[in-house]
Symmetry: C2
Subunit: 322 residues, 2 copies
């Protein structure tokens, strides 16, 4: 491909950089187009960062809509900032493309700019290469020093909470390739949860001084809560009857396994002292987001799930990266 | 691949995190293994960052040695920090692998840890996915606020300098697949320049208050100096007889085109006021690195090259990204 096509790509991605607030612009001393981007942190803040790679046919379907891909890729990555309690700031995009397709690039970059504006992020740099379709995004945010939420702070006696509903996105995998006109309204609802996850940014920031540990549910509740338990050196108990299941998911059955082991929801799972339960309830009202207590932290290791009859339930495994 | 192999990969990359100084550790509040890494900047500093993707058979040969790949990938990326005058800090790695090959991972991760220690970097996060071999590295460094070197500061009357020698790595492409035993000593020297580029970190940092603009030469002098000229809104004139050509490259002929348009050297090209020429000479002695004045900045646009007879020379184009 000639150099002019490389320039085309750069042009597509620079446009989104204009739609930022003055406060954000102040933080980006140099954006796209130099050897390095230059970011300025608020005084007393630390920088939080996370990187996610999405490969075609592995993390998203082949021939996936470029609009949906751009928004979903950024949302998935920003969700890590949410889980850490970060205020979003900027991101970079390493984009590998099989060929320069201007229609694809126009749709992708315009959707990416919309998503960036939605999440309060600025694209500050990147790299474009030729190869099988693959995106690597690194997101950066900030939080007051020492206030980032980690996986390792859960304490015996804490209550375990999750935001929103679990299992919706996983259930949508079954009809990802079905024509929209053939879907029931409830199926369309589940599908939207897969295509357009909402990173819980406001929740994460409010949890800075309330949660003892947090993670976003990308690989399924069992796997991700498992990371908190392992990092914190504690055990967890959850009650299946308390898992928040949407009406749409309930309609489609198999909801417990989907809620326990299905990935792609990008809700937050967090722990907080049981004595501060009322603050979590108040926060749910303030933010207008469901926050459901699903269990508790105990001494020991591992996760046990109990059904309504108090029998141990063994969930099927969560998403495996390889 | 089962989850245990994902764990294997994580284990390989955590090991390198132990070989850091106390001062570096102080900057990394949270490294590999949480939703986000947490970095603390020195007071008054800005964060500088850059991302580079390397795809097999595009940016490095198929079946390339994992030792060489790891060091070269990090060096290439760190070179952007050097060009911006940053002090290196931390990096993330998004690694896409066709399969889990433990021998390959052991060699790659050990070489990456060595390179990280050499450049003063800490691996703080990453992502591993399955797919065609591809690496995306993001490097982060810091510099005192307002002191980052940009491409846009060149002024009419500035002198143009380059570090080291030009064209060596490009010339090595001709015998990249030749058995080492069949190579002349000079060919081995050129090959080493391709395999193991040295990012000019110390030079970049010393140039913070001396250079008006800087870039690293990854795509060839003509292309990269062209970026400075365009970003600064000026023209450049270079004298071919002044280009620093190594004895090894001279032996292999075609040196002028290689020096003008060959990529992969990762030397710095920078501009500085002609009145501060003596400081550049002194800096070359302090750092024991060749710094050669090759031309000057003039009013206008574009780059002109003159040969020893003062005739205009039209170089062949530099590396194209697509």
């Amino acid at each position: 491909m000639p150099a002019s096509e490389f320039d085309i790509i750069q042009r597509y991605f620079r446009e989104g950089a204009g739609r930022i607030s003055a406060a954000q612009a102040e933080r980006v001393r140099c954006g796209i187009g130099d050897d390095c981007a230059v970011l300025s942190l608020p005084a007393g803040d630390e920088m939080l960062l996370s990187v996610d790679t999405l490969v075609e046919s592995v993390h998203f379907p082949a021939n996936y809509s470029p609009q949906l891909l751009a928004r979903r890729a950024l949302a998935v990555c920003v969700s890590d900032l949410a889980a850490s309690g970060a205020s979003p700031m900027a991101f970079t995009l390493a984009l590998t493309l099989p060929a320069v397709d201007e229609d694809w690039l126009a749709a992708f970059s315009s959707s990416l700019a919309d998503a960036a504006a939605e999440f309060g992020m600025i694209l500050v740099g990147g790299d474009t290469t030729r190869g099988p379709l693959c995106l690597s995004l690194q997101v950066m945010g900030s939080a007051p020093a020492g206030q980032a939420l980690l996986r390792s702070g859960a304490q015996v006696g804490d209550a375990i909470f999750v935001s929103g509903h679990l299992g919706d996105a996983n259930a949508a995998l079954a009809f990802l390739n079905t024509e929209s006109s053939e879907l029931l309204p409830s199926q369309r609802e589940l599908l939207a949860r897969y295509h357009a996850p909402v990173p819980r940014l406001a929740l994460g920031q409010k949890l800075r001084n309330l949660a003892t540990a947090a993670i976003d549910i990308s690989d399924g509740l069992v796997a991700d809560l498992g990371h908190i338990l392992k990092a914190s050196g504690v055990a967890g108990v959850i009650r299946l009857s308390d898992l928040p299941i949407s009406a749409a998911l309930a309609e489609h059955g198999g909801s417990i396994d989907s809620a326990l082991s299905g990935g792609d929801d990008y809700e937050l799972c967090f722990t907080a002292p049981a004595s501060r339960r009322a603050e979590v309830v108040a926060l749910a009202q303030t933010l207008n987001v469901a926050l459901t207590e699903i269990g508790s932290i105990q001494a020991g290791s591992g996760l046990r799930c109990f059904d309504a009859q108090n029998n141990v339930y063994t969930p099927v495994g969560g998403y495996q990266h390889f």
